[in-house]
């Protein structure tokens, strides 16, 4: 495939993803989801409380969670870490001396959460999606979209096996 085709295909996919992203936001503005329902939550506060390590990125010091030697001015520069990597111990706080050891698992979002998130959307809005699908089937916009979707599906093919494993198919 030459560069021009690849770029064209990439642009097409990006525009498709843009439209999807914009449509997803319309779900809320059109009142199709409740204000309390979250689409994506990046806040890590609750997981951070359980994390075994805190890295003071400004001071360059790695602490155990709860270490008294963490300076007050570093409250805004702490990153909670669920585990250590090779070399991290060089930055260890001399007071609390954090060490790598088997840690209780911090609950982490994973690909399966995303998959189940998508499934929950499809489940919740299946009737609307079906109706939209019927309308689309008869619209003049169908043809170019079908071609794009076929490309998208072929692009997604390598992930299919992984997704099947995640949902336990």
């Amino acid at each position: 495939m030459n560069n021009g085709n690849r770029n064209g295909e990439q642009n097409g996919l990006e525009e498709l993803a843009d439209s999807l992203a914009l449509r997803v936001q319309e779900l809320r503005s059109n009142g199709l989801v409740k204000n309390t329902e979250a689409l994506l939550n990046l806040d890590y506060t609750s997981q951070a409380a359980q994390a075994p390590f805190l890295f003071d990125i400004a001071g360059g010091v790695l602490h155990r969670n709860g270490c008294n030697a963490i300076p007050n001015g570093s409250r805004s520069t702490l990153y909670a870490l669920p585990e250590l990597r090779e070399g991290d111990e060089k930055l260890a706080c001399p007071i609390c001396r954090p060490q790598s050891a088997p840690q209780p698992k911090v609950q982490a979002e994973s690909a399966s959460d995303l998959v189940f998130g998508i499934i929950s959307f499809v489940d919740q809005f299946s009737s609307i999606l079906r109706e939209r699908g019927k309308q689309y089937r008869h619209s003049h916009r169908k043809k170019p979209l079908v071609a794009r979707i076929e490309k998208l599906i072929s692009w997604l093919r390598p992930f299919r096996t992984g997704v099947r494993k995640i949902i336990g198919e």
Binding site: Q25, F55, L91
Partner: protein, 331 residues
Amino acid sequence: MISDHSAHFFANGANRNGFGKCAPDTAWQPSEAIASEIDGLMKRYRKSADENLRPLFDKYCPSLRATPESAEYRKLIELTAKMQMVGHACTEIAGFRFDRRRQRIGCLFGACCFLGDNFFDDYGEAASREYIRRLELFLTNGWFEIGNEREKVFYIVLSRLFFERDVFQPMLRQGLCSLFQAQKLDAELSLDGERFHPLSRPQKLSLLRNCARDKSGHAITVLALFLVPQISLAHHHLLYQTGSLISCIDDFGDYYLDLALRKVTYMNQVKRPAKVLARIFQETLTLLETHFSPSHGRELLKGFLYRYFTTRLRKHHNERGRHDAAKTVYE
């Protein structure tokens, strides 16, 4: 622990005279080869910024490019070119190649920062508060109310950026939230000045200094994580300090503009800002020299910081005494 700042590679202290003229009074400066390479890279990254962002803005926010010489669009390109330059250095320091994909990520992140700053700073108090609320909702719920084309392009830029990496990676998501918190505090320091009146002057300066540190510190952390998710903690710390320096250089350049806008920053509150900045510059470059292994990436980063410092020194000098709030375009 990284604590040894004793290896001074500056023959003469930069803080001896401060910066009364338009060149940093430091003994260190980049080699001619590095300076010339950075010059070429900046030209290349301006072009790359335009190529990556023009189609996006043409489609979703044409008003920002209303005229070919639009100052706003030029500012966007300059910021994005710098973001790529810093991203290039970070990527090489971590042992990777700053390829086309990473350039694209750098462009998206540059556009995201440009628009985010614009929302916080440019539409008055009520709008700033409203954007704080909406961005908080976006980070904690994923919902973003799109009211105009600038908000639309911001949302599209964010969604494309989020598509590039796993945004649930613990450090990346914390970086994004911490960056927002630092921006929020920065805005509140100007919006709710009375809240900070009870603080003593040293307490206020410490708060402003930390705010400046965290704004660009978390920003460079997020950029580095988008570019090289596996970057080491030791490198993160050094890049954070680099971000802190960038923030001070930036605020020194915007000194008169910020005063005109009644925006409070560490740089416009501290006595003898030029001297303070010279000290921070020297300390940061010593830290990078001492703790990063010798590499081309490290030299690019130091060379870029020197260049950025020089341009903002010139800006500060040129804009001395101005009282208007018009924005000027500098590299």
